[in-house]
Symmetry: C2
Amino acid sequence: MKIGIVGYGNLGRGVEKAISANEDQELVAVFTRRDPGSVKIATAGVPVYHTDKLEEMRSEIDVLILCGGSATDLPEMTPKYAAMYNVIDSFDTHANIPAHFANVDAASRAAGKIGIISCGWDPGMFSLNRLYAHSILPDGQDYTFWGRGVSQGHSDAIRRIDGVLDARQYTVPVPEALERVRKGENPALTTRQKHTRECFVVTAEGADKAKIEEQIKTMPNYFSDYDTTVTFISQEELNEKHAGLPHGGSVIYSGQTGENHHVIEYRLQLDSNPEFTGSILAACARAAYRMNQEGLSGAKTLFDVAPAYLSPCSGEELRKHFL
Amino acid sequence: MKIGIVGYGNLGRGVEKAISANEDQELVAVFTRRDPGSVKIATAGVPVYHTDKLEEMRSEIDVLILCGGSATDLPEMTPKYAAMYNVIDSFDTHANIPAHFANVDAASRAAGKIGIISCGWDPGMFSLNRLYAHSILPDGQDYTFWGRGVSQGHSDAIRRIDGVLDARQYTVPVPEALERVRKGENPALTTRQKHTRECFVVTAEGADKAKIEEQIKTMPNYFSDYDTTVTFISQEELNEKHAGLPHGGSVIYSGQTGENHHVIEYRLQLDSNPEFTGSILAACARAAYRMNQEGLSGAKTLFDVAPAYLSPCSGEELRKHFL
């Protein structure tokens, strides 16, 4: 199947790498809103076009993977391209998912195409695990822990403070909280009891470090509800020790059948968040293509995708090797 | 939806308990090949019938959950009842799944019904996790560890030895092997390196314990490939300390995107294997009913079931609460 990528940041590069690992997928082109001449991609021989060219490439692309941000890009981009292509996105602004789903659904249905939204690991694989666990054991509750991993949103928030040159923020689950949930204690946990935040910050010469530390720790929504540590380091140390984008976490479901207790945990330890997320998007592109080939259309999430659609293997192969 | 249970052993009782926890499901009857008068069930007011009565109850039951054994019951039972009802089973004889699937598919299709086979945690939820992981990261390998938990098949094998009155066998993952896999080392592991087997055995007075221990440890297929420990205990101690049927385990997938490594783990810790398995079967009954209502028919596995079908919640509720 022929794939196009829109947007070439970390996630777009992750999708590109995933497509190159999938024998049944071929990258047709990368599309950018920047000057295409300024974008150098990893795959040899594949063109970079301006997004304007998408109007005229419908017959050449089976699925378009949209690698924009959830804040402003995807709410506009996904419905727009859903009217022309099967599309995949990783929309993750939770409160706006119903509206986004409705917009994509209208566009996809009218076009007779499939649009799978919110494909990633959270929302995405973590969501699936919450759903499966609740469906099996209605009497129970789920806990989601993120990290240890880099939060790009929190890192950006620190970078916006005056006197900060660069920053990397790690979200870290509190070990005692994880342990209590894994034991099936079903504790009530506050935000502060679940995660801590570690910040590594590079400042300009002469910056007031005490003031910067105070600004970080009291920042509403981002840090004020957490136990936060701030460590000032040099740009060299940040480049050397904190260049990667690792992430991960656990969905833990603690449920019961009468007096018997059961704990289900789905855990990810990822060296590269954008490459893992990109790999999920590529698998979802396979599902969208096949579901559309079967005549299905409209907006979907991973909840609506029979798992077999994600795999390159046939039903016979799946039953033989994975069941 | 109206559910019937065929077979009332540990698994049948687990399904019964699961149905009582599901507000959208109602147990219509339990069916047995024994004398129905000899079977007392937990749910008040629900009749027990002989399986012969299934011929005449098609209009009263939406889904039939088959709780027989994989060795001799299900290969005959599932195709037979698939010709009359939507059916669910937990068939787990891996080598015979293709033939079983084909038999159920022919019967279900002819009847315009759905038959979901091999619903449990392995095969079942573990299989799903192998499939999802392979679909996301084609470059990697899966490891499955079982336990610590009671293997009923191995316990039965010990009970068949002369001089043994009762026995309980625990399958236990080797901690070092688990740790190496979780670290992403991708080790090649022999059967012996992955699991040990712990046996608690009650013998008849005057039995030759040394000989029994030797017979257990050298039993082909069951024990000879494992490091096995045998502990002789009294019937009282076995009843007191080993009455439960706990189980669990982990599917660990260790994969890479180029130089970056990712570990995905799905882990179960179950107080009661039959109650958890029964809960999966009940969720699959919900899916079978809905898929059939939409006009689908034929044999399926969890690979073919869009996750949303398993949940009592609507698409809107799922996207709002679980995505």
